[in-house]
Symmetry: D2
Subunit: 284 residues, 4 copies
C-alpha cells in the first residue's frame, strides 16, 4: 500500500489536530496512524500522520504545497512530507566485525527490512565473501591517515552515484570527518558499543570492565560532529557479573548491539524518527 | 487542572479523528493528549482524548449529550466521558503479606497516586497497625467457608457506604464470588504472582520452581469470573537461576509484584485503560 | 588449552568438596572453574569442576576409573567425565524461517562457537543457498505423514554417519517421534517461540495476542517425549504493547528466539548443563 | 543456624580449594556455600566459603588463628572471617524523599532483612512520623555550610554510640566529607539515581532527559572520596520514551532506585561482597 507521511512541528496551540485531520478527511485521506507529542520544555507541538495515498484526493506532487497553504501557514509550521516508496537505498560501512552485518543482511534476506542495499563499503577486505553471497557489491577502500581525505571523497562519490539515502555504520571503526557528516545530516546511523553517555570513545567494554559496572549496553544514534554525542535513537542493555572477562563482555554486548542497531534502522525506514535538538522523538 | 476524558470505540472509518478533534476545537478545547488505535482483527477504531475543562465551551453536564448528538451518532460510537476529579476512591483488600500494601501506601503518602483510600479490608488482623499509621480505617472481616457469603455482603455494604470506585486486591488470598465481581465490572484489580497465563491458581512460585523456569513474573489484571483469566493490565519479570530456592523466588517475585500492581493502579487512575474483549488497550 | 570436565551428583554430605579438590590437587590438576549446588528439595549435591588436562598427573583414559575408585565410590556418586576436545559435531534442523539459522551461522563464522557443523537437514529446500554459502552440506528431506517414519530413519542414518553429538532444532516445524528422541536423550535442543509453560504447541504468538499479554518470550529446552515440556535451558522476554499486531509479535519475538537459542547452544558446548529431573542446573 | 564466613584473596595457585576445603572438612565443617573467582587481569584467586558453626570442630575464637597458621600462611592469603550473628546494626540517612526509606522499612518489617536499625538520621524533619511508626528513633540534624563539620561529628558520635556496623544513604542529599567516609570504609552504601558512570552528580534525571537517553537507571555503590565513583554493588534500568517528562523520569526511576538499593543491602547483609580495587565481587 502506498502511503504519505507528514511530520510537523510548531508552537503548541488549539486546533492543530483538528486542522490537520480535517485537511486529510476533506481530501478523502484514510488515516493509518496518527501520533502527537507536546514538548513541555520548549512548548512545541509535534505530530506524525500517515495515510493511504492511492485514494487521496490531492495529487502526490500537490500535497506539499496545498498543505502548506491551507494548514501550515496558519500555524507557522515546519513540516516534511514523504512517502513509503520507492524503497530507500541504504549503504553499509563495515570493518572486520561481522555480527551487525550478518544481522542486517539476515533481515534484508527475510524481507523484514523494506530497503535496497546497493553497496557495502569497508576499510578491510575480510567481509567481502559474506557480502557477495547476498549479491551485494563490496568496495574495499583501505584508510590511512594520509589517504583518509581521498578515500572519503571516493566514498561520497560512490554514495552519490548509487543514490544512497542513508548510511549505516555497522561497527565501522573509522571516525568520519566533519565534511563527510555534513553530506548526510541525520542520515548516518552508528552503533556505539556502550550505554551512552557512559564510555564515549574507544574500547568501551574495557572501560566498563574497569569501572565494574553490572550492566552493559549499546546505543544507536545519528552521527554528528561531536564523537558519540549525536541524537540517540535506541538503546538496550544486558546484565553482566564480576566474573565476566572483557572478552565475555564483548560477546554479550554484541548481541545487544546488533538488535539495537537493527531496531534503529527499522524506525528510520518507517520514517518514525524526528530529531529535535539533540533528542529524538520516536513516533508510534 | 480539571480535564475531561473521552474514550470511544466504533467501526473504523474515514473522518473520525477529524470529527472528534473538530468538536473539541470548535468548542475551544485545549487537547492535552490524544491517542488512537485500530484493532485490525475486529476492525474497530479506538481513541482517547483528554482536554482542559475550565476553558471548554460546553458545560460539564452537557458534553456527553452534545458529543453524542454531534459526533457519536454519525459514526455509531460507543463512548465514555469522565473527568479527572473528584479524586477516585480506592479500597484495598489484603491478607497477611505486606509488600504490596506498603508500596501502595508509600506512593499514596508521597502524592504519587491521586486517590483517596477510605478503607482497607482484610481477612486477617495482622496489617492493622500499618494501615492505622497512615490514618486509614481498617476492617477485619475473617472469612470461613460458612461466613463467606455474609462477609462478602458486609464488604459490599462497606464499599457502597464509602462510595468506593474501585477495589485493589493487594495479595488478598480469597477468591471472590461471581456475585461480588458482578458489582464491580473492570473495577477490581488483582496482582497474580506469576507471568500469566503460566501458573494459574495457587502456589505459582512452587509451580515455577518445579517447572524449572529461568524467569518469573507477575501480572496485574482485572478480575473476572474465571480465575486469573481476566484482561491483563501490566506484567513484568525477573531472572532467576537454578540455585534459587522457592523462598528466594518468593522474595524476588515480590519486588516484581509490587511494582506491577502499582503501575496498573496508575494506569487505572489516569483512566488510560480500555478493556476490549479479554484484552486491554493502554493509551499513552 | 585442553581441559577435563567432571560433573557429579550424590547425596549431600560433609567432605565432598574436600575429596574432589584433593583428588585434583594431588594429581597436579590446575582447577579452572569449580561450582557446586545443593538441591534442598531432593537433598542432592551437585558439582562441576574443570581443570587443565595437559599437566594433569593421570592419563586421560585412566581418570574416569581412578576418580571412581578413589572418590566416587566413597560418596556413592553418579558422575560424568568429558573433555573440551575434539570439537563437538552439531547438526541443524531447519524449515523455512531463517533468523535462528543465520544467527547460529554468524557465530560459527566469527568463531564464537567452538563446534563443527557437518550438515543441515531441512524439510524444505528454501534455505539451501544460505547454508551452502557457509560451505556446509544441506540435505533436503521433505516430510509427509506417509514418509515421516522413513525420513526420520534417513535423518538418524545421516546423523550417525556424520558422528553428530547433538541436534539443534532452529525453528524446525516438525514434531519428532518418540523413537527419534530416544536416540538423542538431552542431546536435542529446541527453541519454542513462547515463554513456556505459557502457550505450548502451535501458533504461540497468536495465542499470546489473543490472551493480551504485555510481554512475550522464547524458551530453549531439551526435547523430551512430551511436547514443549522438556527441561528448560534458557528463556528471555520482550515487552509488547496492545497495538502490536501478531506479525509484529512475530518479528519482536524472533529477536528473542535467536539470542536465547544461541545462549543455550553456548551452555551446551561449554558442558555447563546438568539435567536433574525436568530442571537444568546451569553451572557458572 | 549460626554460620562462619571466610573470604580469601591470594595469588592464584594449585591446591587452594583443596587446602581450604580440607581444613573445613577435617574440622567437621558442613559447607553451605562455596564460590570462587579468578581475576585474570590481576592474577588473583578469590573464594568465599560459608559453613555451619555449631558442629564445627574449632572454637569460634580460634578459627581465625588456626586457619591463618594452617592454610593462609601457605598461600600468603589475605582473609577475613566473620559470622552471621549477631544481627548487624544499620543506620539510615535520609532527607525528604521517602521511597527508599519505605522500601527498606517494609522489608525490615516483614523480616526480609536480618538487621537491626537503631536509628535514622536526617537533615530534614519531614520523615520523622514514618520512622517513629516503626518504633525507630529519628534524629533531626539540619546541615548548613557552617554547621556541616559539627553535625558530621554529632552523626559519628551517634553511630558509634549505637554500635552501627554500616550506613545506608537512602537518598540522603548531602555530600559526606572525606573525614566522615574514612570512618566507614566500604561500610557506606549510597543509591545514585543514574546508571553510573553516566550522569555523575546532581540532577541526573534532568541530565538524562536532556541527553535524550532511552533507558534510565540507578546504581548502588560504596561511598569513597570521589563523588559517585565508588565500587558498584548493583545496578538496574528502566525503559523510557521521548514523551516522558523529567517528573515522569523521576517517578519511573524511583522504582528502580528502591529495588537496587535494597538488593545491595541484601548482598551486604549476607556478606557476599568483596571489594577489589574499584570493583566488587558479588559471591553467589
Amino acid at each position: 500500500m502506498h502511503t504519505a507521511i507528514l511530520i510537523i512541528q510548531c508552537k503548541d496551540d488549539k486546533g492543530i489536530v483538528a486542522a490537520v485531520s480535517r485537511f486529510l478527511f476533506e481530501n478523502n485521506g484514510n488515516i493509518l496512524a496518527i501520533d502527537q507529542y507536546i514538548d513541555e520544555e520548549i512548548g512545541d507541538f509535534f505530530m506524525r500522520a500517515e495515510w493511504e495515498l492511492d485514494t487521496f484526493g490531492i495529487a502526490k506532487d500537490q500535497i506539499y504545497e496545498q498543505f502548506g497553504n491551507q494548514v501550515a501557514a496558519v500555524f507557522d509550521m515546519n513540516y516534511t512530507l514523504s512517502f513509503n516508496f520507492p524503497k530507500p537505498k541504504m549503504a553499509l560501512f563495515v570493518s572486520k566485525l561481522s555480527h551487525c552485518l550478518f544481522d542486517i543482511l539476515s533481515r534484508y534476506y527475510s524481507g523484514q527490512f523494506e530497503v535496497d542495499i546497493p553497496l557495502v563499503i569497508s576499510n578491510h577486505p575480510d567481509l567481502e565473501p559474506i557480502v557477495n553471497a547476498f549479491g551485494i557489491p563490496f568496495y574495499h577502500l583501505p584508510v590511512t591517515k594520509e589517504t583518509k581525505a581521498s578515500q572519503e571523497a571516493e566514498q561520497i562519490r560512490l554514495l552519490q552515484t548509487h543514490g544512497i539515502d542513508f548510511v549505516v555504520l555497522a561497527r565501522y571503526m573509522q571516525i568520519l570527518s566533519r565534511d563527510f557528516i555534513s553530506h548526510f545530516p541525520n542520515r548516518i546511523i552508528n552503533i556505539h558499543h556502550s550505554f551512552l553517555p557512559a564510555f564515549v570513545g574507544a574500547k568501551p567494554y574495557h572501560a566498563a570492565y574497569k569501572r565494574g559496572v553490572k550492566i552493559i549496553g549499546a546505543t544507536a544514534h545519528y552521527v554528528t560532529e561531536e564523537l558519540d554525542a549525536g541524537p540517540i535513537i535506541e538503546q538496550d542493555v544486558a546484565r553482566v557479573r564480576h566474573h565476566n572477562t572483557v572478552d565475555e563482555l564483548v560477546q554479550i554486548g554484541q548481541d545487544v548491539e546488533k538488535v539495537v542497531l537493527s531496531k534503529a534502522i527499522k524506525y528510520h525506514l518507517a520514517q518514525k524518527i524526528k530529531v529535535v535538538g539533540n533528542r529524538t522523538i520516536i513516533f508510534s
